[in-house]
């Protein structure tokens, strides 16, 4: 896979902006880690200023950059979009391992399941009756696909995913290892005798181009659907309770927990370890900062944080003020004492003056 810089630029479909043929290139690495036989990358034009100093000291042979990224302190391979160049370089230096369509002989696929001939089912996977695996879908080793579940075209379930009965995964979605899709919602009828289970008869419906992280749990609806919209990306160890409705193109960072029937509109971002109380709605494009707790509905387009939730700028002011709180307590005590003294003095003065 080693080529001169010039040949590499040509292979990737970019334009070499620097002396040809350049050194032999063997890989790609971040700006501060790349060596003289590696290239590096700048994925966003606005990053140029931020990383200029790092680029000056980089040992990389060249940088993948956008045509419009301006002059750079080292040779570049230019693309209409740097992201396009990065994808091409990653695909060149880190090709996907080949995989063969077909059902591995150690997998158990029920005779009443349907697996597209272009799909792959890996070693020791289980596909139960009535399940449907779409074209080019990849069901890795030890995955479980329950009765009547559906996996869309090109979707990829990594080793040891659990997709429970009746749940659906859209086209080109990716589910990482250990994720459980369709576990029962946490619903009980509580009386003096204890907590009686309310059967959870709904399903989970995952849209297209969704990515779901490792060991995520998404509960099936009590009735109806728990939904994750197209293009949404969910990080590891996130919990979605029954009947949650997540819109399109949301970002949900690690260890977030969404209580029952939470609604996220499109393009919502929840940073790490955020929680929501049940039955709240977060408006389109809103961002909840790390550790925030969504205690009520949030309108679209906000940046909010804290517990209870408030505008992020206000939360930051409160955080700053808290550091002065112990001093404030002392100040107020001093003021109380001074005021008492003053009041006394004034009383004396008034008496004297009278």
């Amino acid at each position: 896979m080693a080529l001169t810089l010039e040949a590499l630029a040509r292979t990737l479909g970019g334009r070499l902006d620097g002396p040809a043929p350049g050194p032999t290139i063997t890989g790609i690495a971040p700006i501060t880690e790349a060596g003289p036989d590696q290239i590096t990358f700048l994925t966003e034009v606005k990053q140029v200023g931020k990383h200029l100093e790092e680029l000056r000291h980089s040992r990389a042979a060249a940088v993948i950059a956008a045509e419009k990224a301006g002059p750079l302190p080292l040779p570049a391979i230019r693309f209409p979009s740097a992201y396009q160049g990065l994808l091409a370089a990653l695909a060149y230096f880190h090709p996907e391992p080949p995989w063969r369509p077909g059902i591995h002989p150690t997998a158990f696929v029920d005779e009443d399941a349907t697996v597209d001939p272009t799909a792959m089912v890996g070693p020791l996977a289980v596909v139960e009756a009535g399940a449907v695996i779409g074209p080019r879908a990849r069901i890795d080793a030890q995955v479980f696909v329950g009765r009547g579940a559906r996996v869309g075209a090109g979707a990829h379930l990594y080793p040891q995913v659990v997709l429970r009965e009746g749940c659906r995964v859209g086209d080109d979605s990716i589910i990482h290892s250990g994720a459980v899709i369709g576990s029962d919602g946490f619903g009980f009828h509580t009386t003096a005798a204890g907590h009686a289970k309310i059967p959870q008869v709904g399903v989970v419906e995952i849209g297209a181009r969704v990515e779901i992280g490792a060991n995520v749990t998404i509960d099936r609806a009590t009735m109806g659907c728990t939904r994750v919209g197209d293009g949404t990306k969910i990080d590891n160890l996130v919990h979605l309770a029954h009947n949650v409705q997540v819109g399109k193109d949301c970002l949900i960072v690690a260890q977030v927990g969404l209580s029952g029937s939470t609604i996220l509109e499109d393009r919502v971002t929840l940073a790490g370890q955020v929680g929501t109380v049940g039955h709240v709605r977060v408006g389109r494009g809103t961002t909840v900062a790390a550790r925030g707790v969504v205690t009520e509905d949030v309108p679209p387009g906000q940046v909010v944080s804290g517990f209870p939730l408030k505008p992020h700028a206000e939360e930051k002011r409160i955080m700053l003020a808290q550091r002065r709180l112990p001093e404030l307590v002392r100040t107020v005590h001093r003021l109380e004492a001074e005021l008492a003294r003053l009041t006394e003095e004034l009383a004396r003065l008034t008496k004297d003056g009278s």
Copy 2:
């Protein structure tokens, strides 16, 4: 499964309170989602007032309700308890898929394990030597049951549960996918040379009618037992450390973490993302609100929250007061200045007057 409303009421064992025979019914759905060929439900009498407006606008053909729920704005199927009616309707419209007792040919069951002939062991499950699977227990696909572990009568382990060696699950308990019961406790002997492992030789004992959510982790005791009492329900991604003792009929919501040797008495409720420091006891019937951290023992019957933990009403007052903190800082500074000015003025006045 479609019947007239009248025939459905008879089939479910309820009493039709409305015009017979009524429309043909095909399913059950929540009040705001049910269509004209569906029924809906009101599980608690006290919900009637709360949902009356929704019921008025519901498109449902009828509502399952308690006999004593009072007059309703649409036809009803009445039961002594609405919950009983809901269970009957769910069982009618969403029957459990049939399952056959027996050991799937692809499962690996050690010849020294004991599986009751009425139990089921699913595809690619593992049951190791000395393990005992009780009558009507259901061990789903790819479950692991370790050496000498015991699964009670009627218990259900969903796909990919891990029940480590020597651990026990009581009758009719349910464990969801990805839960790990009996992993080693986090116990080390720390010296200048590092952290040496303290072997964790205890077990986990899960009572009867317990439900444990997806990807929950319950560590085995260092010695003795980590215990979860009868009737307790645990949501997804909860962590119970070694030697935790959970009482009966507790509710532990998602992403809670209990440190080593935490004791919950019976009927404790921990809301989402609560944590406890080690060796604390939470009294019978106490509720800890979301995100609270149990920093010390809590008496029975309390409602507590915050970090450190305090009475919930106090925590709410503090949360309100915090929003006024930045303003308070400014006010105190203003008071300081005014007081200084006043003191000066008074001094001048005293001097003038003297």
Copy 3:
């Protein structure tokens, strides 16, 4: 396994400090739980004072203690280090079950994988092409080892661990059930059209003598390595994002989440439910208290807590002050009123005096 106290002391390699031969001993248990046929233990000399009262009331036949632990209120088995005695007693009363090296006939091991003849591969495990399993390594039931992954000598992967392609586990490390090592990092290129995946082509490298808890997730690096240093111990349900670098002999307690590129130097302790924002460095030997959020770099040797992070002592002062906040608000209002009255009075006095 029952011996007299005298014979047990000899078998364990300790010195009986008490009347011989003593009673027959059948096991070991904590101080408050041990019965008259059991021994108990005191692992640290400094614990003696703390547990003296408990020892006085213990029903144990004897206590394992250090030679230098001083006089004790019951018979003792003395060792140069009590920890050494505890290990010997645990190994005697709770011997590891025997395991046979070799590949279980139900496992799937690719013909291009290398498994050392002294290693064990359990039932229904999967070892893919190019993977290398070292001497005496133990791959339990249903584990997944991906293409080209490496497991060091004496390492132990418990049932249902996932070790993704190319990732490495060092000698004598332990990984608990449900842990996922090498899932994709959460990296996207966001445009108006949505979030496009940045392929995650790096790996995870786990050092020697590391322990990783149940259902932990460790993401592979975008490029390069996510690293966990030798001797580090990680509790359950912890999340390590892509490119995190954890030093040696760290302790990471349950439910901690480390954002991308977080650096922990050696011997850092993170208590339960701590979080870090991305790209921060925590200095050698620093402890972050439970629930803290690391919002910026922390120097070595600190004890810090809170959100934002501050010295632990300061955070405790703030927590105390917060409980007085509602009262403080009232006090300040009172002071405002008094000051206004005083100002008015003084103005009148000045006017009168003028």
